[in-house]
C-alpha cells in the first residue's frame, strides 16, 4: 500500500505544485482584501477544497499513458489495494485542501473580522466543499474504470457536476424539510446530513469500483 500511495503522490505532485502556487497567491489576495463582501472568501474556500480533490482524481489518467497501470497488476499487490490507494489519496488531498482553506479563512477573520451573518456559515462552506469533493470521487472512480481512460475528461466534468448537483439536491431537500428560518442546530444537522450522504456515497462507490476494476483487462 505504501508504494501505491507514493505512486499516487508522484502522479499528483507536479499539478499540485502549480495549483498550490495559485492557491497561495490567491490566498494572499483574499486575505489582503477587505472581507465585508464574503464572496471572495467563499470562492477561495470552495476552490481550494474542491481543487485539490479534483487534481487528485484527475492524475489517475497520467498513469494510463504508459504501461504502468498494467505493470502494477504484476506486482505483489491485490487489485483492491490499487483502488483503496486512490480513495485514500483523494481523502489525503482533500485534507490538504481543508488545511489551506482553514488557514485562508482564519487569517482573513483575524485581519478583517467575521464576514458572515451566521456562525454556522463557515461550517456549511466546509460541508459544501467536502461534500462536493466526496460525491465527485464517488462518481468518478467507477466511471473511470467502466468507461476507460480516454473518456477521463468528460467523466471529470460529469463527476464535478454530480458532486455539485448532489450537494445542491440534498440542500434543497433539507430546506424543504425545515421551511422558514432554520435554527443553528437545524443548519448543523443539515450539514451533517450532507456530509453523511457524501460519506455514504464514497463508501458505496468503493466496492463498486473494486468490482469493476477486478474485471478490467490490460
Amino acid at each position: 500500500m505504501k508504494g501505491l500511495l507514493i505512486d499516487n503522490f508522484y502522479a499528483t505532485l507536479s499539478n499540485a505544485k502549480i495549483f498550490s502556487v495559485i492557491v497561495v497567491l490567491l490566498g494572499i489576495f483574499v486575505v489582503a482584501m477587505d472581507n465585508r463582501i464574503p464572496s471572495l472568501i467563499i470562492g477561495y474556500m470552495l476552490l481550494v477544497i474542491i481543487g485539490y480533490s479534483l487534481n487528485s482524481i484527475a492524475s489517475i489518467r497520467k498513469e494510463s499513458v504508459t504501461k504502468w497501470s498494467q505493470y502494477k497488476l504484476t506486482t505483489p499487490i491485490k487489485r483492491a489495494n490499487i483502488i483503496t490507494s486512490y480513495f485514500i489519496s483523494l481523502c489525503l488531498w482533500l485534507v490538504i485542501g481543508i488545511v489551506f482553506a482553514t488557514i485562508g479563512v482564519w487569517l482573513s477573520v483575524m485581519l478583517h473580522g467575521y464576514p458572515f451573518d451566521k456562525n454556522t456559515d463557515i461550517f456549511m462552506l466546509f460541508v459544501v466543499g467536502i461534500g462536493i469533493s466526496l460525491f465527485m470521487g464517488a462518481i468518478f472512480f467507477p466511471l473511470f474504470f467502466i468507461g476507460g481512460e480516454e473518456r477521463n475528461e468528460v467523466f471529470l466534468v460529469i463527476s464535478l457536476l454530480c458532486g455539485v448537483g448532489g450537494v445542491m439536491g440534498i440542500t434543497t431537500l433539507i430546506n424543504n424539510f425545515f421551511p422558514e428560518g432554520m435554527t443553528c442546530v437545524q443548519i448543523i444537522l443539515g450539514g451533517v446530513l450532507i456530509l453523511a450522504c457524501a460519506v455514504i456515497a464514497i463508501v458505496l462507490s468503493y466496492p463498486i469500483t473494486v468490482c469493476v476494476f477486478r474485471r478490467k483487462e490490460y
Binding site: Y10, V65, T66, Q70
Partner: protein
C-alpha cells in the same frame, strides 16, 4: 523435470476483434530460457496477459511455481519480474522515485542492487524517465524487474527497437540471471537472432494457436528444410512434413529430422532451418 510455468488449454476470445487464443498449452522448466515466437497479432501478449492475470482467461489453467496464481497470491508475484515493450513506468518519474515506489510494493526490493544496475547500465538516477532514450528505458525496466530478486522473468518484446549493442548487453544480463538453477525466462520476441543466441526452448504460436515447442538443439541439429522440386515434393511422405511453402521454382518443406530425410529422400537439397524460416513456413506455408 519441474516446471516453473505451465499453461494448460488456455482459451481467450476477444469478440470485438474476433481473435481467439485457442487451447494454448506449453511449459517452461526451471533454469531455462524460452523464446516465445509468433507473428504480430499471434497472441503472444494475450498469452502473457493470461499468465500474469492482467487478462482474464476464458478457460484453462496457468500454474506458476506449481500453483494457479490468483489476485490474492501476492507471494507468487513477488517472485516474478516483468518487462513490457515501451514505457513500463510513468515518464514523470526519476529512477530514484521508481525505487521509492518499488520498495513500497516489493518486500524483497533491493535498493542497493537497483543502484548497482543503474550504474552498470549508465542510467542517471535523478533524470526524469521521459528524458531517457528507448534503450535506457528498457534497461531501467530490466533493472527494476531484477531488483526484487525474482525467479521468473517475463519479457514481452523487451528487446524490440533496441540497437544490437544494447541488446547484446541485455542478453548478457539474461544469461547471467539463468545461472541460478531455479531462475527462468519467458521471452517473447520478434528478433529471432536474440532467441537463437540465448533460448533453450522455442515455442511457436500462430494466429492464437499453439504450433510447437522445441529445444534449440533440436531446431539446430534435427529440424531441416528440404528444397524440393514438384516431383520430389509429391514423393515426400506426408507424415514427414511439418509445413511446406511453394516458392518460385521450389517447394520448401519443413521436416522434423533432417538426417532421416537425407537418408530417405536422395537427391533433395536439405538445409538447416533458422527460427525466422520456421516462422515463415508456419505462418505463410501450409501445414500437414
Amino acid at each position: 523435470m519441474d516446471n516453473i510455468l505451465e499453461l494448460n488449454q488456455i482459451c481467450k476470445t476477444f469478440s470485438k476483434s474476433n481473435f481467439t487464443l485457442d487451447n494454448l498449452s506449453f511449459s517452461l522448466p526451471y533454469g531455462a530460457i524460452m523464446g516465445f515466437v509468433g507473428e504480430n497479432g499471434a497472441g503472444k501478449t494475450t498469452t502473457i496477459g493470461c499468465i500474469l492475470n492482467t487478462i482474464a482467461k476464458d478457460k484453462g489453467t496457468v500454474k506458476l511455481f506449481g500453483k494457479e496464481m490468483q489476485d490474492m497470491d501476492t507471494d507468487s508475484r513477488e517472485k516474478i519480474g516483468v518487462v513490457y515493450d515501451g514505457d513500463n513506468f510513468p515518464t514523470y518519474w526519476t529512477a530514484k522515485q521508481l525505487s521509492h515506489v518499488m520498495s513500497g510494493l516489493y518486500r524483497q526490493w533491493d535498493s542497493a542492487l537497483f543502484q548497482k544496475y543503474l550504474e552498470e547500465f549508465h542510467l542517471p538516477a535523478k533524470q526524469k524517465i521521459k528524458q531517457y532514450s528507448k534503450g535506457m528505458t528498457t534497461k531501467l525496466a530490466i533493472a527494476a524487474a531484477l531488483s526484487h530478486h525474482p525467479c521468473l522473468l517475463i519479457l514481452d518484446e523487451a528487446t524490440s527497437g533496441l540497437d544490437p549493442i544494447v541488446r547484446d548487453d541485455i542478453l548478457d544480463v539474461f544469461l547471467e540471471f539463468v545461472q541460478e538453477e531455479n531462475h527462468s525466462i519467458l521471452l517473447s520476441s520478434h528478433i529471432t537472432s536474440d532467441l537463437e543466441r540465448i533460448a533453450d526452448y522455442i515455442t511457436f504460436i500462430h494466429n492464437g494457436k499453439f504450433i510447437m515447442t522445441a529445444s534449440k538443439n533440436e531446431l539446430v541439429y534435427q529440424y531441416a528444410v528440404m528444397r524440393c522440386r514438384k516431383s520430389q515434393f509429391l514423393a515426400v511422405d506426408p507424415a514427414d512434413i511439418l509445413a511446406w511453402r511453394k516458392r518460385d521454382f521450389q517447394i520448401d518443406v519443413l521436416v522434423p529430422n533432417g538426417k532421416e530425410a537425407e537418408r530417405k529422400y536422395k537427391g533433395v537439397v536439405i538445409d538447416h532451418v533458422s527460427i525466422d524460416e520456421m516462422m515463415l513456413l508456419f505462418v505463410k506455408g501450409e501445414k500437414r
